[in-house]
Symmetry: C2
């Protein structure tokens, strides 16, 4: 799929068919994730791939807006490894860029996905970490639910000229 097509037609998908995602596709998505840029190439991240039905259901319960995990055959948790940072505090941005690559890669593979925000909500972060057994210092930025979409959604263009300012701020 063309890059601009992928970016402009991607939508958040929250309902999935009961079909697993192929291992090769998961690998391709992870390769895309880890090719996101990181501050000073610090690569202070970790990825948890969840395919077990029980853990997916537990994750759905551990997050207030994660019902999409109840039908998803796959979740990827994108986590910062804060002790591995060379440039402290940038892990959020690094992991967000990786998450965006995951969404685009899934879409280009004909899958659907939705970004479920975890950090900076402390209670979500705690409960989600517990389900996955994360050690101290590994912070979940987001859990991405991924699978074959029940239905495709029409593209939405969100460009807003009023949010563009040229050569300095123009109210």
């Amino acid at each position: 799929m063309d890059l601009f097509e992928a970016i402009m037609t991607r939508r958040s998908i929250r309902n999935f068919k009961n079909i697993p995602v192929e291992k090769e596709t998961v690998k391709k998505i992870l390769e895309a994730a880890m090719n996101a840029p990181t501050a000073g190439n610090q690569l202070a991240w970790q990825f948890v791939v969840v395919t077990g039905r029980e853990m997916l259901d537990e994750l759905a319960k551990a997050h207030p807006y994660a019902d999409s995990l109840l039908s998803a055959p796959l979740a990827i948790a994108v986590c910062g490894d804060v002790k591995a940072e060379k440039h402290s505090g940038f892990w959020v941005q690094d992991c967000s860029a990786a998450t965006q690559n995951i969404l685009l890669a899934a879409h280009a593979e004909g899958l659907g996905a939705v970004w479920l925000g975890v950090y900076p909500r402390a209670e979500r972060e705690k409960s989600v970490s517990k389900v996955m057994g994360l050690p101290e210092g590994i912070i979940t930025l987001a859990v991405v639910a991924i699978g074959h979409p029940v239905r495709k959604l029409s593209p939405q263009k969100r460009y807003d000229e009023s949010k563009v300012h040229y050569n300095g701020w123009r109210g």
Copy 2:
């Protein structure tokens, strides 16, 4: 350009030819930026497009690692609009996803780009905001330097299997 090709071959580009970026291309890049997902579709962001030589040079001086702006014909500052947030604190992730889309879009258009981190470094944020005349509540996440690359860099694959954990944490 194919999505995976774009993701896997993009590199940080820091030296640019003295050629402007076409207005249509800037628009296409901004459309890509604003099609990134945001928490609860809050769209709490603003974009400052800088093409004036003087302001680009001032931005280079306002940031400790922004020499790339001295040759760049274009910069896009990606800013959070914190007063417009519906889901407080998520603007960093929203703006990071938009920044990643900018990098990919620039690359797909045959341009080069580099993500210059600003937030959460308070001193950079302050000085960069001053140059662009940003009002209170508009926080610069990053300035992206963009232009025609002096030379192209070979792809780098950063996939690391040791950072992937299956169905929970495995040290």
